[in-house]
Symmetry: C2
Subunit: 265 residues, 2 copies
């Protein structure tokens, strides 16, 4: 098993904590990085000043490498007429279920842009990972010039090849089992998505950069399997939701992942 | 890695050739068993006399263990009115596409029953595997009394537990990636099916009998991964379709499995 990626990042164990916006905390990032894996701070829901504050907090508590994760989705084109039809359709159910009037529309989640890029340049985290593709070439080269190792997720071989061609340093092969957002960005048909066991060796064969396996990995057996399939590391999210450092509520912490998928020591 | 199952069957390598009705041949079964794996003859489409003849052929060419596979599906209740509505609906498309009149209805595929069981008792193959559950208890105990090791497929943890309770000697954990018939028999919702990487360790934790991993395994990397996940062996089908012993047509042999999934030497 190649340690090239681990050595480039500077981590001991082939484990990447999946960035989970809303569930991963600074405490979790610090705990994973201190334990020799790669902690990942999900920045998709954070304002630039929050990113800066949380990275300062991380750096005050560990000198180990960590990862900042951003979304590169394309914003949907606003369609007020369609939105109005949705509201109208839902109004009947609101009445039936007695859930009262409509809650205010949530602001659209902005993708990685020039202002987030400026914060990344300023903070120069060891690793930056993207989801839903990559930012525009100009932004990507700024991130790379800041010295960050760049990762992004592929759910198909075609997406992996595209990411490598754009200059990704490593590719997260995200199988169908992954609990997080599917990182699809070239693929449009979710029924064409494949499981981690089938995806990882195909991506490993298709690209020259290191591959991180993601999806359905919850314990040491899964990590060893991922390495056997040719991955350099495993990215795990759901398994961390049961940790004391997890940001999910105690209720979901106790009821959500089944005993059968609980990591074993 | 436990060799218990391999030693019980009497095979050298942790490889079960998936029974593929219509694609696997006596030649393939013999080649796999002779090479130290477990060749599997798909009997679902065969009459008792054909099973007898093909097993004689296998035994004339190898003294190694082999597997006979049968379907245990429940026959659908006949509904002539519904069938008539289907035919009516399709008639318009037949006209539009000029495919002529309806072809005669195929006979229903009969599940494993008393007469097939009698042939199994007579032939006493080393291994019998079932798909879509297990035959009725009386038939199953006859198969076991004949000295056959019994395997069946589970696509969920609940199915695996059910099979173990019924007396299965080993369980094929069939992940979502499997190219063959899905062996679902308790589960009804296909959207609840999981990938091999996630399914295998859960089944291994849930049952005490050996587990064979199936689905998306095409080369040595997948076999090592399956063993790392706790399986005792890997069952592979699609990978064998490209062998000279495969019964598929040359056209599908060259176009169907992509290069990326072609087994490497």
């Amino acid at each position: 098993v190649s340690r090239e990626l681990l050595d480039r990042i500077g981590i001991e164990h082939p484990i990447v904590q999946a960035p989970m916006a809303g569930a991963a905390t600074v405490e979790l990032v610090v705990a994973v990085s201190e334990a020799g894996g790669l902690g990942s701070l999900a920045c998709a829901l954070l304002e630039p000043e929050e990113i800066r504050a949380q990275v300062e907090e991380i750096r005050s508590r560990t000198s180990r490498p960590f990862n900042l994760n951003f979304f590169c989705h394309e914003l949907p084109v606003s369609d007020p007429a369609r939105a109005a039809r949705w509201r109208e359709r839902l109004a009947a159910y609101r009445g039936e279920l007695g859930v009262g009037s409509e809650s205010p529309a949530m602001p659209l989640l902005e993708p990685f842009d020039g202002s987030t890029c400026a914060v990344v340049e300023e903070l120069a985290p060891p690793v930056v990972s993207f989801h839903f593709g990559l930012p525009a070439d100009g932004l990507l080269s700024r991130v790379k010039s800041a010295g960050c190792l760049v990762l992004s997720s592929a759910t198909t071989v075609a997406e992996a090849r595209w990411l490598e061609q754009k200059g990704c340093d490593a590719i997260v092969a995200q199988g169908l089992e992954a609990g997080g957002h599917r990182g699809m960005f070239l693929a449009a048909d979710p029924t064409g998505q494949v499981g981690t066991l089938a995806l990882v060796p195909q991506v490993v064969d298709a690209v020259g950069v290191p591959v991180v396996a993601a999806g359905g990995i919850t314990d040491a057996r899964g990590i060893v399997a991922a390495l056997a399939l040719g991955a350099s590391a495993a990215q795990m999210g759901t398994a961390y939701l049961l940790c004391p450092e997890s940001g999910i509520s105690p209720l979901s912490g106790h009821s959500s992942p089944s005993r059968a998928t609980t990591p074993r020591g």
